[in-house]
């Protein structure tokens, strides 16, 4: 007998549950969880922004808006490219913090050891 959902057969079978979702990579599991939640939040926020982009686009070009039009909206190739850029920018903005390089900053300021760098370019600012 195959399993069912709401009376529909699914043809799914028994499987072995893995422990892959139990792993801890940081010093405290709560920090792992915070990072996961923060990513989830990022996803929600990104979804909201995309939805707004769609709505704004449609509002700009039409009057009466059919919601199904919003659900099935597909960006043009150029638009997709600009969405990709927006997304990458957003990701860098929010999540660079998580992979910040750290160093031992105990003791006084190391004036002699300070590194001279060229003026900041646009990449440094993104």
């Amino acid at each position: 007998m195959t399993s069912t959902i709401n009376g529909h057969p699914t043809y799914a079978a028994d499987y072995f549950e893995g422990d892959w979702n139990k792993s801890v990579f940081l010093d405290n599991p709560h920090i792992d969880n915070l990072m996961t939640a923060l990513l989830g939040l990022g996803g929600e926020y990104w979804a909201m922004r995309r939805r707004l982009m769609v709505v704004e686009k449609l509002l700009a070009t039409k009057c009466g808006i059919d919601p199904s039009e919003i659900e099935t909206y597909h960006p043009s190739e150029d638009e997709q490219k600009s969405w990709d850029r927006e997304r990458d920018d957003f990701i860098r903005r929010v999540f660079s913090a998580l992979v910040r390089e750290v160093a031992d900053v105990s003791g006084p300021i190391d004036i002699e050891g300070a590194k001279l760098r060229p003026p900041r370019n646009l990449e440094d600012m993104s």
Binding site: Y11, M35, G40, W46
Partner: protein, 368 residues
């Protein structure tokens, strides 16, 4: 055979209509946005990792096991954070995709029911199939694995296409390249083709498009996978037979196939099953027939194409893939001398084709 039709596929110049036909997209905007997000984070993390890898070994690692190398690299907090980020976004991808199919389960089940008994092509489901234990795991952290989730086929196809492959194959381009690189038997006859471990059937479809006159089969141990594969192929108008069967026990007659393909099957089966599958292929491929295998490199590959990364990062990455991408069979697969297995089973083996993905060519084996 003179009648063999062989159409070179052109993944680089798909028309807008081709793309629209092949595009996968959820009927809900937010889920598409979540995938867009996951794809972006994965691309960003991959670029950062590439930049961070020293190109030469940073210390003598001969003596380190891959687990010890992993433990050593994880002492670096930046590496640990990067690892956390990678697995969190990977799980985000699977989770949101699974939720999306769960939320609209009736819709997707009805869609499959509408095509189960419809052509072109056919679907053979076998709820009584004795699924081997090794195939019931949640490989690559996919919830429920291939066999345990009612939407296993959809989940695999949508997550990989929309996020994991990072834009590499939005319309099946990668599988078209794989199909293009399959050599024809020397006598030119291609009447029957089989794709083993076909999952969502993307490569099976590409093979049918390249050889439209050939009788084409896809087999997979997973019911949800072959069911989705048939649904999608039928929607694309491709006449393909999908069957829930084992690659080690395909039920086909001896010497039946002119071409067999597999893509990413072998690193996901036990070494024992791998040996049985090789024997089964030797049985069902005709003399002069071609078996085109594409998966990670193993022992026995020529050193010009395969130099195992013995740096501490390389070893740590191997552990990360095995343990945390949850690939129980990966290490045992890499330890097999796969080319020797093929030769011993009666194939002449050639690996001189073009690299298709991640620098690796297909292994083309011709049945003696």
């Amino acid at each position: 055979m003179a009648g063999t039709v062989d159409i070179k596929l052109d993944p680089k110049s798909l028309t807008a209509a081709d793309k629209a036909r092949r595009r996968v997209s959820f009927p809900r905007l937010d889920v598409n946005s979540h995938m867009h997000f996951a794809e972006g984070v994965k691309m960003w993390a991959t670029r950062r990792m590439a930049g961070a890898q020293p190109s030469s070994p940073i210390c003598e690692t001969e003596a380190l096991t891959i687990e010890q190398a992993w433990a050593a690299t994880m002492r670096d907090p930046a590496h640990a954070a990067q690892t956390r980020l990678n697995w969190s976004i990977h799980d985000f991808m699977w989770d949101r995709v699974c939720r999306a199919f769960g939320r609209d389960a009736d819709h997707f089940l009805a869609a499959m029911e509408a095509t189960d008994n419809d052509g072109p092509g056919s679907l053979e489901l076998n709820p009584a199939l004795a699924i081997p234990d090794y195939a019931r795991h949640e490989i690559h952290r996919q919830p429920g694995g291939y066999v345990g989730d009612p939407f296993g086929g959809w989940v695999y196809h949508y997550a990989l296409t929309l996020a994991h492959y990072q834009g590499r194959t939005p319309h099946g381009e990668l599988q078209m390249e794989l199909a293009n690189a399959v050599p024809k038997p020397a006598d030119g006859a291609v009447n029957r083709i089989l794709d083993i471990g076909c999952a969502s059937g993307v490569l099976t479809n590409a093979m049918k498009e390249r050889f439209p006159k050939a009788e084409t089969w896809g087999v997979d141990v997973s019911g949800p996978c072959v069911r989705y594969a048939h649904h999608r192929a039928a929607k694309l108008g491709l006449d393909i037979h999908f069957a829930q069967r084992l690659a080690e026990d395909t039920k086909f007659p001896n010497g039946h196939f002119d071409i067999v393909t597999d893509y990413l099957l072998f690193h996901e089966v036990s070494a024992e099953a791998a040996r049985k599958i090789v024997a089964e292929m030797a049985r069902i491929i005709r003399p002069g027939g071609v078996w085109c295998h594409n998966d990670a490199q193993t022992t026995g590959w020529p050193s010009e194409i395969h130099r195992p990364d013995t740096s501490i990062q390389g070893k740590a990455m191997a552990w990360n893939l095995y343990r945390h991408n949850y690939e129980p069979w990966y290490e045992a697969y890499k330890a097999l001398d796969f080319p020797a297995l093929l030769r011993d089973a009666g194939f002449d083996v050639d690996m001189s084709g073009p690299p298709i993905f991640r620098g690796r060519p297909s292994v083309n084996a011709v049945k003696r």
